[in-house]
């Protein structure tokens, strides 16, 4: 059972600013968490499949990334016996319904749209983490897939 008090997170996002916002938001949350970031899909998969000894508790995954997109990464993770249990929270600028549907089908846990407000960012990250832990890693129904704030 994951402990929301000390949670190991991995963020895959090529945007430095967004990485910074995420890190700062996380730091301001009352959590004892650790965060690792990667800059593209290749790095992410390399890290997950070979480098990391211990898998992170939760992966935050951007969609538009160079070299390997978030959708491709999600597919690979869910196909991999060792990784398929890893909860994946999509973290993206856009909110295209078709893309949302596709990601749900491929096995993502939650979908977060990057907000234009820092307070909302904190709130949404906290909610995503809380949801994941409280649901005991179970996926929500499709209607609740996109977290609204």
């Amino acid at each position: 059972m994951m402990n929301i008090g000390s949670v190991n997170l991995l963020l895959a996002d090529d945007d430095d600013d967004d990485c910074m916002f995420f890190k700062e938001a996380l730091e301001e949350l009352p959590l004892n968490s650790s965060l690792k970031t990667v800059k593209n899909g290749e790095q992410l998969m390399d890290l997950l499949t070979t480098k990391l000894v211990t898998l992170p508790d939760i992966l935050f995954l951007d969609i538009n990334m160079p070299r390997k997109t978030g959708v491709e990464c999600l597919s690979e993770i869910k196909r991999n016996e060792k990784l398929k249990q890893l909860p994946v929270i999509i973290y993206s600028t856009s909110l295209n319904h078709e893309v949302v549907d596709l990601l749900y089908e491929k096995g993502a846990h939650w979908y977060i749209r990057k907000p234009g407000d820092f307070k909302k960012l904190k709130k949404i990250i906290l909610e995503a983490l809380t949801n994941t832990v409280e649901n005991n890693l179970q996926r929500p129904s499709k209607e609740k897939f996109v977290i609204q704030v």
């Binding site: 856009s94 990057k114 234009g116 960012l121």
Partner: protein
């Protein structure tokens, strides 16, 4: 003396065989006779006779009766007996065992008596090591010596033992035979055909009532034979006496005792004996009393015949089988009939050979019956039998019944069988009939009833109750039913009843007040059943609800009246139009000739022009005189003629009645024109084609116009393709630009927000104000980009229709707008929302925008109330000329209680970037309703807005529904 035997060989002993030799060699000096040389001549002569005789002889000589005998006598002494020791012995010593018998005889002879003769005298003697019973026929005769006194006794004898034994045996066997005959109670008879004498034993005589004389005339015996048998017996006797018959005689007949009249059945057996002349000299045999046997046989035969007759005549099929071989021994006609096989196929055959088709099913059962002796019953079983060579399904009841002999063993099996096929089929037919009747009754919606005319109790069917408006299981009395009769029809009903009680048949129609207060028409039919005294007992009947029929009949009457009226009217019109037609026919010819725009001509069967009108002259350039009598081929281009187009068109017209073609034709001056041609075959009454009418229209101008049109259409299409491409590019540009614009904007907003959080206190008042304005601008820009993005996404390429419950979409939108709804205490009422075929995410966008608008444009002092309803209705129901009358639509109305707008803006509000309010009053991009409209159009629907200022607004959306809803 005795020593010189050889020298002194006595002549009288010459020859004499073995006994001669023994006599010679014996030392006689020791006997009382002394040496041979002293023997008297008489002895010598006698011995010479004895020893040379081949007849057995014995001699006793001298006072001591010394024994002599010859070779012929020797066998009588046997082996190991007196031979040869008694030679020279005294008689008394030699014959000790019989001395008491022979002594008197010898004495008698010696004392001067006559010679003795004894025949077959038993004189047992010792020989072969024992005393044997030996029979003799013998004679003792005296032999005198020289003094003429008897000096010896000569015995000549023959042993008759074997003869006597034979005789004894014969006697014994005769006794045995007689005993046997006696024991078997046979009569014996012997007839001499030569003397015609007849002898018989006592028993036979007793049967025949014959006198006990030794010899009887045959006729005497024949007379005792039963009259009807007499000739037969005589013939049989004559036949037996004929040598060629072999002499055998075996016959049964009846005799009657002449005295007691007792009848005896006898069986005579015998044979005739023939001499060399083949004449019968003896005819003998036995007679057996077979009366009891015959009676028993007759009884048994009668019993068996009775059983046989009983079986053969039985109406039940019976076949009796031998229990061990299962071979059919008796089979009757009924069985043959059920089996459907010939007598020959059953009788004397192995049962399972006959019924090989049933063998797999019943062989075990039959075996068990044989084994256990317990009958096997099969009741109305279905069997497939091969009957008269065909497979037939029959229903039979049969029994394998064991029959036991007197020892209680099962030795026969009786197969009893009855063919139930007819009964089973009849029963099935009856059941079918009953079922059918029930079906008919049910189908006919007939209520049925049974009225006991004595107790007035009524028993009715469920349907009957229904007709009167009761629950199906309710028990209603006759009086209750009668009370429901329409007062106006009570008389009719009572009359019908009165009549029914007289002649049995009930039939009437009447109105009733059904329980639900409806007036119904019913038709009642029934039959009264009477008892023996012709008192009405029961009424059985049916009741039918004929309300609809009655109504129909009325309607029908009205309809036929109307029809008749119309027929009259039409007839009148027809007469009128016929008259007009006649006039018009005349006018027609004139008209055709005057027609200017069409060339109308008539061709004969070969395509030769026969008449010509003004239009033809105008179009083709020929005057009538120039072209009549010439072929219509002239109007075709050289190429068409080469391809036999004119002939083909005529052929087509003959085959199908008409030929239509468009193409270039040649005028008299050689110029071409584009013609539309219709050639129609003209038939006579016999339906033969006699010619063609040809109508030609000059379409040159039309053709030119069409050609131009085609050209511009092609150009247009080309332009369209280009436009579509540009459009697509624009769309993707709009999408990409707005999407990518979001990213930096979002960061501007976030950084601004961070600055405000962390550095706000360091700003001047003016700076703070400007900072806030910047933030607002960024927010507006974000909304604008979001809306643009949505708008650009809402293109028709992403159509993916799904059957969707509108309630579900409303719920989703409610969730999306949860905060706003709570903030404004808004309520959304969804009424009667249906399922329709839509693009779900677009529709969500649509509802989102409309509900957002309703919230945004709500009255500040009043909580927004939003009502969403839908229904599926035909296009005609809506007063909107954009909707097709033939189609079904789903109408979705979204209304609110907000500020509304002036009705004249109802179209403008849907245009892109159109806003009715200043940005400071109600912020927005002016894209929302444009998106709504675009989505509706994507669904091939229309949207209208109805409002009055401050009185709320209603948006009506009409989406085509595939068909009427399922009610």
């Amino acid at each position: 003396m005795g020593i010189q035997k050889d020298d002194d060989f006595p002549q009288f002993l010459t020859g004499g065989g073995e006994m001669g030799k023994l006599t010679r060699e014996k030392d006689w000096s020791k006997t009382s006779l002394g040496s041979m040389q002293f023997w008297p001549q008489s002895l010598r002569t006698t011995l010479s006779i004895i020893l040379n005789s081949k007849f057995p002889m014995f001699l006793w000589w001298g006072p001591e009766l010394i024994c002599f005998y010859n070779d012929a006598y020797r066998p009588s002494l046997g082996q190991n007996g007196k031979h040869p020791s008694i030679l020279g012995m005294k008689a008394e010593e030699a014959w000790t065992e019989i001395w008491h018998i022979i002594k008197p005889l010898i004495d008698q002879v010696l004392s001067g008596g006559e010679a003795t003769w004894s025949e077959d005298q038993l004189i047992p003697i010792f020989r072969n090591g024992k005393i044997e019973d030996v029979y003799w026929t013998f004679s003792y005769s005296p032999v005198n010596d020289e003094s003429d006194k008897p000096a010896g006794v000569l015995v000549t004898c023959t042993e008759t033992t074997s003869k006597i034994i034979t005789l004894h045996e014969l006697e014994e066997s005769k006794n045995e035979l007689e005993f046997a005959i006696d024991a078997t109670e046979l009569g014996t008879w012997d007839y001499n055909p030569i003397t015609n004498k007849f002898s018989a034993n006592e028993r036979l005589k007793k049967w025949f009532g014959l006198p006990s004389n030794e010899q009887i005339e045959l006729n005497h015996a024949i007379n005792a034979i039963f009259e009807s048998d007499r000739q037969r017996v005589t013939t049989a006797i004559q036949k037996a006496l004929d040598f060629s018959s072999g002499g055998k005689y075996d016959i049964e007949y009846t005799i009657i005792h002449p005295g007691t009249k007792k009848e005896t059945n006898v069986r005579a057996k015998g044979r005739a004996w023939f001499n060399e002349k083949k004449t019968a000299y003896r005819f003998n045999g036995t007679l057996e009393d077979v009366t009891e046997q015959r009676i028993a046989n007759r009884k048994a035969a009668q019993v068996e015949q009775n059983i046989r007759n009983m079986i053969l005549d039985a109406p039940i099929g019976i076949c009796v089988l031998d229990a061990f071989t299962l071979i059919s021994e008796i089979v009757n006609d009924s069985f043959i009939e059920v089996a459907g096989k010939s007598y020959e196929a059953i009788a004397g055959k192995f049962y399972w050979d006959t019924f090989s088709e049933a063998r797999p099913y019943y062989e075990a059962a039959l075996e068990k019956v044989v084994k256990d002796g317990i009958p096997f019953y099969a009741n109305e079983v279905e069997l497939t039998l091969v009957r008269h060579g065909n497979k037939e399904n029959v229903f039979v009841t049969f029994v394998y019944a064991p029959i036991r002999n007197t020892n209680g063993e099962v030795n026969k099996i009786a197969v009893w069988v009855v063919d139930n096929t007819q009964q089973v089929i009849a029963r099935q037919e009856i059941q079918k009939g009953v079922d059918k009747l029930n079906v008919v009754i049910e189908a006919s919606d007939l209520g049925t009833f049974e009225l006991d005319l004595i107790t007035d109790s009524i028993d009715c069917s469920e349907r009957f109750n229904q007709i009167f408006g009761y629950a199906t299981e309710e028990k209603i009395s006759h009086a209750q039913f009668l009370a429901q009769l329409h007062p106006g029809d009570i008389f009719t009903r009572n009359e019908a009843f009165k009549k029914a009680l007289e002649d049995g048949a009930l039939h009437y129609q009447s109105r009733i007040f059904a329980r639900n207060k409806l007036i119904k028409w019913i038709e009642v039919k029934g039959q009264v059943f009477f008892d023996e005294q012709h008192n009405p007992k029961i009424l059985l009947g049916t009741c039918r609800d004929i309300t609809e029929e009655k109504t129909h009949i009325q309607e029908h009457q009205f309809f036929s009246d109307e029809l008749e009226k119309q027929v009259q009217q039409r007839t009148k019109e027809l007469i009128e139009s016929n008259r007009l037609l006649k006039d018009s026919e005349e006018r027609y010819h004139l008209m055709v000739e005057e027609v200017q725009d069409y060339a109308i001509l008539y061709l004969n069967r070969e395509g030769i022009v026969e008449n010509w009108n003004a239009g033809a002259e105008k179009i083709k350039g020929y005057k009538a005189a120039e072209i009549i009598g010439k072929s219509f081929f002239n109007f075709y281009t050289e190429e068409d003629r080469k391809n036999n187009l004119p002939q083909k068109l005529l052929k087509q017209a003959i085959q199908t009645g008409r030929a239509r073609q468009e193409g270039w034709r040649v005028r008299k001056d050689g110029s071409l024109f584009w013609a539309s041609v219709l050639i129609t075959a003209v038939h006579n009454e016999k339906n033969d084609v006699i010619g063609f009418s040809k109508v030609t229209h000059d379409l040159t101008e039309k053709k030119d116009a069409e050609d131009r049109l085609k050209k511009s259409a092609a150009e247009l299409e080309q332009k369209n393709i280009v436009l579509e491409k540009i459009n697509k590019e624009l769309q993707s540009f709009a999408y990409i630009s707005s999407h990518d614009l979001q990213e930096p904007l979002r960061k501007i907003q976030t950084f601004a927000g961070r600055l405000l959080d962390t550095e706000y206190s360091n700003l001047t008042e003016n700076g703070k104000d400007q900072f806030k304005r910047m933030q607002h601008a960024a927010e507006r820009m974000q909304t604008l980009i979001d809306d643009l993005l949505t708008y650009s996404r809402t293109n028709s390429a992403e159509r993916k229709y799904e059957k969707t419950d509108l309630n579900k979409i409303v719920e989703q939108v409610k969730a999306e707008l949860k905060e706003e709804l709570q903030q404004k205490y808004a309520t959304i009422e969804a009424i009667n929302l249906c399922e329709i075929n839509i693009i779900p995410f677009q529709f969500r966008q649509l509802l989102h925008n409309l509900i957002s608008n309703a919230l945004k444009f709500s009255k500040p002092e009043q909580p927004p109330q939003i009502k969403i309803e839908s229904k599926i209705v035909r296009g005609t129901e809506f007063k909107n000329n954009q909707l097709s009358d033939k189609m079904w639509y789903c109408q979705i109305s979204i209304s609110d209680n907000g500020i509304g707008f002036e009705q004249h803006y109802s179209e403008k509000i849907f245009e892109l970037f159109q806003r009715l309010h200043g940005r400071m009053e109600y912020h927005g991009t002016g894209i929302g309703l444009a998106i709504v409209k675009k989505i509706v159009e994507n669904h091939n629907g229309i949207i209208t807005a109805t409002s009055e200022l401050n009185k709320g607004a209603t948006f009506d959306i009409y989406i085509p529904a595939p068909s009427q809803p399922d009610f």
